[in-house]
Symmetry: C2
Subunit: 261 residues, 2 copies
């Protein structure tokens, strides 16, 4: 395996790029952020599937050996269609996130925070039920968390109050949750605040897991990588990429190309 394609609705998927580079430093990566049509999370399943297939086609034209769907919304709503469209392996975000949650949970009571579209799809419920039939899952859509992460307001009173409002609602649905899935690429930036506020509400430590490192593990399991280690980024719209990209990738982005899908 030489080349990994990764796509997301925007720049959040750079958290997955970061995990893949840590785990597979030799892999050449083509990253596509559909920044013209971001966010997917408020769109219908039909529209998410259509846009996701366009992203897949773009990466396949770059002859990638593997596609990672960093976007939870696309994974939750379009993974079957994506896998059916190509013989190239396609790894979504939901099953790895579900695996991480099941591994972390002692009680089997798991909370999923995500976009409206991810939560409505009940994809995490299905994936967790397959892995651990006794587990119980409560999901909650948190539309304010993406702009909060993009503003960089990841701690402080506003972040805490917004997380508190959402998490009070989630723990009201199931007070015995011991593990949260951060089911959107933006949420890991808020992980500390989410964990702290959840622990305050629950009165005990709450684990918070996301898909990125488990996705990188699954990619690594497909075989050794022998690429040139280069990261090429493509976006469908150029706005705010420098500022946001570095926040999610953890370092500056060198190669970016503006493309039409």
């Amino acid at each position: 395996m030489r080349t990994v394609g990764i796509f997301d609705s925007g720049v959040g998927g750079l958290t997955v790029v970061r995990a893949v580079r840590d785990r597979l430093p030799g892999a050449a990566i083509h990253y596509l952020g559909d920044t013209a049509r971001v966010p997917y999370g408020s769109k219908s399943p039909r529209t998410v599937e259509r846009y996701s297939l366009a992203c897949l086609r773009f990466l396949l034209e770059r002859e990638v050996d593997l596609v990672l769907v960093a976007c939870n919304t696309a994974s939750a709503n379009a993974l079957d269609a994506l896998s059916a469209a190509t013989p190239t392996p396609v790894i979504g975000a939901v099953l790895p996130g579900a695996r991480a949650a099941v591994a972390a949970s002692q009680t089997g009571r798991i909370g999923v925070l995500g976009t409206l579209s991810t939560v409505r799809s009940r994809a995490y419920e299905s994936a967790i039920a397959e892995l651990s039939p006794a587990a119980a899952v409560a999901g909650l859509a948190c539309p304010l968390l993406v702009p909060l992460a993009e503003e960089g307001w990841t701690d402080g009173e506003i972040a805490e109050q917004i997380c508190h409002r959402y998490l009070v609602e989630l723990f009201a649905a199931d007070p015995d949750i011991d593990t949260l899935v951060l089911g959107c690429t933006h949420y890991p930036l808020l992980a500390d605040t989410i964990s702290r506020v959840a622990a305050d509400i629950a009165g005990r430590p709450i684990a918070a897991v996301d898909s990125a490192s488990t996705m990188a593990d699954e990619a690594a399991a497909l075989g050794p990588t022998e690429g040139d280690g280069r990261l090429r980024c493509y976006v469908t719209d150029a706005t705010r990429l420098d500022e946001l990209g570095a926040r999610f990738l953890g370092s500056a982005i060198d190669e970016v190309e503006l493309v039409d899908l």
Copy 2:
């Protein structure tokens, strides 16, 4: 004039539909919300212009006599291109909003709250400078206000703190502001909170104006309307329309068609 076309990036423009129906009850209205590609406010001018032209073409095919661009972002970035593309009159949101602000301000110090793309365009600055060369304008992008309005969290502590954080920054830029332009179709839902928080910061009353009623006045000035008073809505994606639409229109939406652009 029989038929008015109105478009917006999403459902927020229904606040303009509401004003037009109040002012021109006879007008037949075709409303297009580009809900598949919402929001425009975080996209680049080039992309906003491309999407706006597609919306315009769609409405012209419905043989409208007038087009209102409810979306501030589209008005700020694409009005020249839209006007050049058709002999049908096109009214944007920026100039009416600027007129309302200049009329309301005593000090000529005006603050503009908008999306990233509207604020970067400096369109309100240009429009206000033409109307009142001595006026001074300070703009601020407020990305959290749209999801806040869509969640319905329009008052209470979270809304106040978010508005406070943005408005402290705006009044730091110009402490003598006496009028705020709510430069996004979503913000009128937060008008009470914004006015109250701004008055607290400034220590005096602050006027808050938006484009909707002035746009309706400008449409009325083009002549009497003799349509069938019917409202037809079109969206590019069906998600959340019932819930959000009623919030912005102030009543339920009867006729909605899902369309591709």
